[in-house]
């Protein structure tokens, strides 16, 4: 297994956000976590990235524990998070944003090659490479955020709500891009509220509710499971 969480518990002060979540991300797969707002999805991702300390449990990457590593060290080991809300560096150009992805992980040597790949997946970014990131549309910013994370040549890409606030047509593009990234050999952990798309694309998926996994299975199986859909929609 590439990455695992074992009995992960995370609290914000007195508030327990994640209670006992165990997930596994096999090499080369797309794994989705779906669930309503506040179910604890982002918390899991932030704990994996080393931004939050687990109250209990362990995060294991290639057989060794990540617990206790600072966030930038986790990223340097190849677990790169593309955070919710894009968070591109608005005052930097598209190229500067992209280059930083490679700079942080020390991947500048391979940068040109990776860049070509990213421009193939997101041709829009190539057109806009000298523009300030802040002037991009929401969809373009999301592409940039993913592209920037890809520049770090991640083993695992953690995507937190990549479809948030995007027009349906762009949501489609974004998911196709995620597929393409995965096809290139990068494993993906995808956090989504847009359950239909997330389940559709995933090899394996977990349904989260108030901090615990309430269902898991192959993405397509969950999608066909009427009960899950109903529980999820209410």
């Amino acid at each position: 297994m590439l990455l695992e969480t074992r009995d992960l518990h995370v609290s914000y002060g007195p508030i327990v956000a994640v209670r006992g979540v165990s997930l596994a991300i096999p090499q080369g797969q797309i794994v989705s976590i779906v669930g309503a707002n506040g179910a604890g999805k982002s918390t899991i991702v932030r704990a994996i990235s080393g931004e939050l300390a687990p109250a209990r449990g362990e995060i294991v990457y290639r057989g060794s524990t990540l617990t206790g590593l600072p966030a930038f060290q986790v990223a340097r080991r190849g677990i790169v998070q593309c955070p919710e809300g894009r968070r591109v560096f608005a005052g930097l150009t598209v190229m500067e944003n992209l280059r930083l992805g490679a700079y942080g992980r020390g991947q500048l040597a391979q940068a040109a090659e990776t860049l070509e790949r990213i421009f193939t997946i997101f041709p829009r970014l190539k057109e806009r490479r000298t523009q300030l990131a802040g002037t991009l549309s929401g969809g373009e910013q999301q592409m940039l955020a993913i592209g920037r994370a890809m520049m770090a040549a991640p083993e695992i890409l953690l995507l937190d709500e990549p479809s948030l606030g995007l027009a349906p047509i762009l949501v489609q593009t974004m998911f196709e891009a995620i597929r393409a990234i995965n096809a290139g050999g990068t494993s993906v952990l995808l956090i989504e509220q847009n359950a239909f798309m997330a389940l559709n694309i995933a090899h394996y998926a977990y349904v989260l509710r108030t901090g615990t996994v309430v269902a898991e299975g192959k993405g397509m199986d969950l999608l066909k499971d009427e009960d899950t859909i109903r529980a999820y929609l209410g």
């Binding site: 549309s137 949501v171 998911f175 509220q193």
Partner: protein
């Protein structure tokens, strides 16, 4: 049909290039429980913030009980009769639950500066009256066992109820609840359900809420407004909304791969 207590007309708000709320129209009648649902980023909280004047709309009108709310400063909203809670909890963490409620009652305090300074008779009588009112709200929201604890040490569900009690303390006509069930456990949500009903049935409050917990929304709402990408895409009773294909696709994803 009863008179609309709150009426929102052609409301829009842009942030930079993003249109968060786009030509929104809806109304809430006196005594109704209305829910706004929709995917993340649909503009629900922005709509709340516009109604409570946290920022001004780019276009459109909001009228409440015959009063035009656009351009009012935030602190006048409570005086107009609107109480609200916040998605990310804006309780006073370093005050006790009871003190939080007392701050909500501040605007009813009348003692002058000098009376306050000398803790005169009128001041003391007023403090007693406020304390009694706070006790009543503490009891109403089942906060009695935790009333004198610092709010920062309370569990999430209790903090949510403290915030609702604080909003009620201003004696609002309408209560705007922004994701009141977020972070609550299922039994807590069940209690919340009963509580919101009591607010309407016993205290005559009108309730407008943004909520993601569908079971709560479906059970409690008289009417549901569904938003997506800043617009209202559907409106109706829980049954109507449940079977609306547009709504299903907004929640499950609108594209089909």
């Amino acid at each position: 049909m009863r008179n609309a207590l709150l009426e929102v007309t052609d409301l829009s708000r842009r942030f930079g290039g993003l249109t968060a709320v786009d030509g929104l129209n809806f109304h809430v009648n006196d005594g109704e429980i209305v829910s706004i649902i929709g995917p993340n980023g649909a503009g629900k909280t922005t709509a709340f913030n516009l109604i409570t004047c946290i920022y001004p709309p780019s276009a459109g009108a909001i009228s409440f009980d015959g009063l035009n709310l656009v351009g009012l400063p935030l602190h006048r909203i409570a005086a107009a009769g609107i109480g609200r809670t916040f998605q990310n909890l804006r309780v006073f963490a370093n005050l006790t639950a009871r003190e939080n409620i007392l701050v909500g009652l501040t605007r009813h305090a009348r003692a002058s500066f000098l009376e306050t300074l000398f803790h005169g008779g009128r001041f003391r009588a007023e403090e007693e009256a406020l304390a009694a009112e706070a006790d009543r709200l503490v009891a109403l929201l089942d906060l009695t066992p935790v009333a004198d604890q610092l709010v920062r040490n309370l569990p999430y569900g209790d903090q949510r109820r403290v915030e609702i009690a604080r909003a009620l303390a201003t004696k609002p006509k309408i209560l705007l609840l922004d994701e009141p069930a977020a972070g609550m456990t299922p039994p807590e949500i069940e209690e919340l359900n009963g509580m919101i009903r009591r607010l309407r049935d016993e205290l005559g409050k009108t309730v407008l809420m943004v909520e993601h917990h569908m079971s709560l929304v479906m059970e409690i709402s008289d009417r549901i407004i569904v938003m997506d990408q800043g617009r209202k895409i559907a409106e109706g009773t829980p049954d109507e909304v449940r079977s609306n294909p547009l709504v299903i696709s907004a929640y499950l994803g609108s594209g089909v791969v």
